[in-house]
């Protein structure tokens, strides 16, 4: 038998093995270890919660619709909910690193760790907590999602056509009865290459494509849907804040995918009516004017 054929090595067993033969939870979690870990955990949890609450709105753009704000809220809530669990994992890892019994990096540790092969209480509570978290996340997600499925009886129809590599919009002739009883009339169909939406008017986008799949993503409306050739994809929202943003293509669509964007704006409904009344001649683009553009 060759000398480096060293199967059957006996490593030193854990020093206080007799205490650990039938370990209860309180013995596995030695008090000083628990305290150290708890400090790290608390610190990280607070950090995570604060980041979730205060960083998210800074990181994400201002949203022009309830759907958009729901996205921000979701990130906020999920970060806060996940923070304690993520912090616990980090805390144990960091504590294990700091409190490593073995300082020499060159040789194998002289003493093995305690042979903890699992603990029903720890595993069980981990399972219960993570299941409860998932149930909460699911409940939150489904509630938010369901609240976005409200179909307004009357909505401004906007036909969105994606093609390589431009979005075009057409407003068919229609009369929309607004929630307050007022009406909004598009007397004659209007084609446009920018997207202009009246504020507080429910909008229904009918999204389709002439060629390949595009991703219709009016960024700050918090909705998104693919433009599939031969299919009509319906998206609904009600923009409730004035402002400008971009419609970007979110699905790679070939050569000029990067340039497939549209300037879009939410404008007062009087401005919208005035613009639409010019009919097709009103292709003079509102958004371009708002931005002090080139025309």
């Amino acid at each position: 038998m060759s000398s480096n054929h060293n199967h059957g090595i006996h490593h030193a067993t854990y020093q206080s093995i007799d205490e650990e033969v039938a370990p209860g939870l309180h013995k596995q979690l030695h008090r000083q270890h628990v305290r150290g870990t708890l400090y790290v955990w608390a610190l990280l949890t607070v950090g995570g919660i604060l980041a979730g609450l205060y960083l998210t709105p800074i990181l994400m753009p201002h949203m022009n619709s309830p759907e958009g704000r729901a996205a921000i809220e979701t990130v906020k809530v999920f970060t806060v909910a996940a923070a304690p669990v993520a912090a616990l994992v980090c805390a144990v890892a960091i504590y294990s690193l700091i409190n490593s019994r073995h300082r020499s990096h060159l040789d194998s540790p002289p003493v093995d760790g305690p042979p903890l092969r699992g603990n029903a209480l720890a595993s069980g509570s981990w399972l219960v907590v993570s299941t409860l978290l998932v149930v909460f996340l699911l409940f939150w997600g489904l509630t938010e999602w369901a609240s976005q499925q409200v179909v307004h009886a009357d909505a401004l129809q906007v036909n969105v056509t994606g093609q390589q590599w431009l979005w075009t919009y057409s407003y068919p002739a229609q009369t929309v009865i607004l929630p307050g009883g007022k009406t909004l009339t598009v007397p004659k169909a209007v084609d446009a290459t920018t997207l202009d939406l009246p504020i507080n008017v429910p909008v229904q986008f009918n999204v389709t494509s002439k060629d390949v799949t595009h991703g219709f993503w009016p960024t700050q409306l918090g909705i998104q849907g693919d433009a599939n050739p031969g299919v009509n994809d319906v998206l609904r929202t009600t923009p409730d804040h004035l402002g400008k943003f971009q419609v970007r293509c979110s699905q790679i669509c070939g050569l000029y995918h990067a340039y497939m964007y549209t300037q879009a704006s939410v404008i007062p409904d009087s401005a919208f009516t005035a613009w639409i009344a010019q009919g097709d001649a009103g292709r003079v683009l509102t958004s371009a004017k708002i931005t002090g553009g080139v025309r």
Partner: protein, 640 residues
């Protein structure tokens, strides 16, 4: 093993029909065969089918690629055994020994070699090559994105690079652990003498090798425009590059299927006595689960890609809506493959990492049964979550709820992986060597990847984040920061066993810090881009995204520098590192109990397993994983 015995073997081999052609087949003859047959079929195509304006070029490219793949495998020797079997000329013992590489020195690494350790090493080299190609492409992407309206690459070249970066990395990560380590280490871990089907094993590597050139050929026939997901109908609209791309995948599917079957049968039928399922190391379980999941996922990939070739070369219309097709068919079938595939990538590295945690914390695996259950649970759930990639496609919006449910459920078994990792570390005698460094990095990265994954699983949030850089950052955190870092931990762990040399730890740690810091900078910046609303896969962008793109690019350069330093450490240690002892980590699993370098058929004596491989800190009788020799106590403790 330069013994009389070996010399005797060499004599036997060389004394038999050594001059036969198939003994001389190697990578070179493979190239010759592939190029030759490819050229022949190209000529044939040019003079027969290249008259259709719509499909002619695609038909020619299809024929050429077919010629390359078949020719290469003919040349390298993939079909030898089948042909011999059909002819009724079974290989002699000498032939089989020759095929296992006996007495051929380093040249066996260039051959159709049936020794699982040679195949594992070949896989390792291939993975390095693929990562280097993919990494170079990534650097070009980041260079293009340094400035908003960069003119470093044309939009067409940019799209081509994005697509091939993606697919190269996907292929490389699928095989990065199941290739090298499930082939080299896993059979030793279960006390087997080889894989169940050594010739299929060799086939799996050489078929993948033949799949790589078509992928790179896409650059020369117009490039793939459609990203690695190659969504139809854009990919139908693409030029013949898409045919090359599809051929890569079809070939790759053959390899993964064969390798998956091989892994499963090996573990099912070739375990050493006493190696019960409950004593199997976690890495073995992970390989089995990864292989089984691959077996489920790959047929879907095959279906999608054959349909794609058919649309290109024969004018069928599976994905062309004007003639009744649908891009949704592509998307569904693609993600039926695609989501399980993510876990085909992830599970084996996680298994490897668990071995690292247990060995370097000097503690038994915490909650062993739970982690096996968790991996099986992840695999089971992963086949029911595919449509979360399609929340915004307009396909079946009513199914958003159920798919949100299954997707979020997957975080429960994923959480158990964390529990087992920290449970194993808790109060351990943590021995912080290089594999452990990467282990800690994995924990942090995978937390970030996991939490951001929860945002994406939620439909209202996904309506903002889908298709933007947030998704890019998320899956790089899970697949690069998670799976690939875990695989790196595994590589540093098994490096002494595979190469017989110790890995230079100082250079390795320098690489680690570059990788760790570069990675965070790169992808945290990309998260910020995503929050702000920058779409994915764009060659140019709004200047409002400029600062974070500069940061991300600089991070990416640091990250790449880190990988290159690590590669340097690996290569220089492999060439001239200090000789590794058989068991440098004092680990208990079987691969460390045999010689380094590992002899042909792995063990010099019969192996009997008596306990699991995690008896750290246990009573003496529980510390023994296996005994060697015909009687269980005869060699117990020998060698001390």
């Amino acid at each position: 093993m330069t013994t009389t015995q070996e010399r005797r073997l060499e004599d036997t081999v060389l004394g038999s029909a050594a001059g036969r052609f198939y003994r001389h087949q190697n990578f070179g003859t493979g190239l010759l065969g592939g190029v030759g047959l490819g050229f022949l079929l190209w000529l044939l195509g040019e003079y027969t089918v290249n008259n259709n304006p719509n499909y002619g070029t695609d038909m020619v490219v299809t024929l050429t690629m077919l010629g390359w793949v078949i020719g290469f495998n003919l040349g390298v020797g993939t079909f030898n055994a089948v042909l011999h079997w059909i002819l009724g000329h079974d290989q002699t013992k000498e032939d089989e020994l020759y095929a296992a590489g006996v007495g051929q020195g380093k040249s066996r690494y260039w051959k159709y070699c049936t020794d699982h350790k040679v195949v594992g090493t070949q896989y390792l080299i291939l993975v390095f090559v693929l990562f280097f190609i993919g990494g170079t492409l990534a650097m070009m992407i980041r260079t293009q994105l340094l400035t908003p309206n960069s003119s470093f690459l044309s939009p067409q070249t940019y799209n081509a690079i994005v697509s091939i970066h993606g697919m190269t990395m996907i292929i490389a990560t699928i095989i990065m652990v199941s290739g090298p380590f499930a082939n080299f280490i896993m059979p030793i871990m279960i006390g087997a003498k080889d894989m169940a089907f050594p010739r299929l094993n060799a086939m799996s590597i050489w078929v993948i090798v033949s799949a790589v050139p078509p992928l790179m050929a896409t650059f020369f026939v117009g490039g793939v425009n459609a990203g690695w997901t190659t969504y139809a109908p854009l990919s139908v609209q693409d030029g013949p590059a898409m045919v090359c791309f599809a051929f890569t995948i079809i070939t790759f599917v053959v390899s993964v299927t064969v390798a998956g079957i091989n892994t499963l049968i090996t573990v099912l039928t070739m375990r050493a006595p006493g190696m019960t399922f409950s004593r199997m190391p976690v890495f073995v379980w992970a390989s089995v689960i990864g292989g089984a999941l691959g077996l489920y996922a790959m047929p879907a990939f095959l279906l999608d890609m054959t349909m794609m070739v058919s649309d290109h070369a024969t004018g069928t219309s599976f994905f062309v809506s004007a003639q009744g097709g649908s891009g949704w068919l592509w998307e569904n079938v693609f993600w039926i493959m695609g989501h399980p595939e993510v876990y085909v990538i992830l599970i084996p590295p996680v298994g490897a990492l668990m071995e690292v945690f247990s060995t370097f914390s000097r503690k038994p695996m915490f909650a062993y049964k739970m982690i096996i259950g968790a991996m099986i649970g992840i695999a089971g759930l992963s086949i029911m979550v595919w449509a979360h990639h399609m929340f915004t496609t307009g396909w079946a919006p009513d199914l958003a709820g159920p798919f949100m449910l299954t997707t979020e459920l997957i975080s429960i078994p994923t959480g158990i992986i964390f529990l087992c990792a920290i449970g194993t570390m808790w109060r351990g005698s943590n021995w912080v060597r290089l594999p452990m460094y990467f282990g800690f990095l994995f924990i942090w990265n995978f937390i970030v990847g996991g939490v951001t994954g929860i945002y994406l699983s939620d439909v209202p949030a996904d309506d903002y984040f889908h298709g933007n850089m947030f998704v890019t950052a998320h899956f790089h955190y899970t697949l690069l920061g998670g799976a690939m870092i875990a695989a790196t931990a595994g590589l540093c762990y098994w490096f002494p066993k595979v190469t017989g040399r110790m890995l230079d730890e100082k250079t390795g740690r320098a690489a680690f810090w570059l990788i760790a810091i570069g990675f965070q900078v790169t992808y945290l910046a990309q998260f910020y881009e995503g929050f702000k609303g920058m779409p994915r896969r764009v060659a140019n962008y709004d200047p409002i995204f400029a600062p974070e793109n500069v940061v991300s690019s600089i991070g990416a350069y640091v990250l790449m520098a880190g990988w290159i330093v690590l590669l340097y450490a690996l290569v220089s240690s492999w060439r001239s590192g200090s000789i590794a002892p058989a068991n440098p980590w004092s680990a208990k699993s079987l691969e460390w109990q045999t010689l380094t370098p590992v002899p042909l058929e792995n063990f010099l004596e019969d192996v009997t397993v008596v306990n699991d491989a995690y008896g750290y800190g246990e009573r003496a009788e529980l510390q023994v994983h296996a005994v060697f020799g015909s009687t269980s106590d005869a060699h117990h403790g020998e060698g001390h």
